[in-house]
């Protein structure tokens, strides 16, 4: 597997880690990245930290829900001005 991969470069990890985590790389490139970082303990550890942080933000940031009253108000206004 390593023979197909170029020499590991931690700078490449820093350039791509967020692209991978944010789903911005094509699957093939993503898979190569994942294989590549298995060869560097530091990069692998940082990858898991960044992934955990991203998942953590998504899970912990409070999500407010729209009230039924607001939904009804918007619907009423749209219905009151159908020509708008």
């Amino acid at each position: 597997m390593d023979q197909q991969l170029p020499k590991h470069d931690c700078r490449n990890f820093v350039r791509k880690v967020f692209l991978v985590l944010d789903g911005e790389l094509p699957e093939t490139e993503r898979n190569l990245f994942i294989m590549d970082i298995q060869r560097c303990k530091g990069c692998l550890e940082h990858f898991h930290i960044e992934k955990t942080f991203k998942d953590f933000i998504a899970a912990k940031v409070e999500r407010k829900e729209c009230s039924e009253k607001l939904k009804q108000d918007i619907l009423s206004q749209v219905q009151a001005h159908p020509e708008a």
């Binding site: 930290i49 953590f56 933000i57 940031v61 729209c66 708008a84």
Partner: protein, 170 residues
């Protein structure tokens, strides 16, 4: 509609203002529905209308243009070639014990441009291309701003954790 309201609330930090902003967004969308391009992401289009509405109201209230952080024009590639020291690391042990309230408070303390980009990317899961269209910036700026925003948020969480006595294992 919940996602839109959530975005509005985090921008305004006020339930009444968020209600007004969402209402205004839907009415504008309805009025200008012909400007929506079929086949494109309708959610992103609504987010863009809401963001513009917020910026206009913000400018009106402050009577000044939104502050631009010129530091962010520093390109991502200029800052990323220092290896692992190029970004802040927040150890898993540090933040896993934190509560949602603490994280939300830290996020809401960020400058609005940084808060916006984290909400769009990490909370709403928009792609860089969609974010670029929503906030009218190039994709390269999305990357660099996101990078800075995450580092600032980590720094705030780290400060909070240290203040509260979370132990950092390094």
């Amino acid at each position: 509609m919940d996602a839109l309201y959530n975005f509005a609330f985090h921008l305004t930090l006020d339930e009444d203002d968020a209600n007004d902003l969402v209402q205004e967004t839907f009415l504008k969308a309805y009025r200008f529905i012909e400007s929506y391009q079929q086949g494109t992401n309708a959610k992103a289009w609504l987010f863009k209308i809401l963001k513009n509405g917020f910026i206009n109201e913000y400018r009106r209230k402050t009577k000044q243009p939104t502050k631009v952080d010129y530091d962010e024009v520093v390109s991502y590639h200029d800052t990323d070639d220092e290896g692992h020291v190029a970004y802040l690391d927040l150890r898993q042990e540090l933040f896993q014990g934190m509560l949602g309230d603490e994280v939300t408070r830290a996020l809401n303390q960020l400058p609005v441009d940084f808060k916006t980009i984290i909400l769009l990317c990490d909370v709403e899961d928009f792609s860089y291309e969609e974010i670029a269209k929503i906030i009218d910036i190039p994709i390269g700026t999305v990357r660099s701003r996101l990078h800075r925003a995450r580092n600032i948020l980590k720094e705030k969480l780290r400060e909070y954790a240290q203040k509260e006595g979370y132990k950092e294992k390094r």
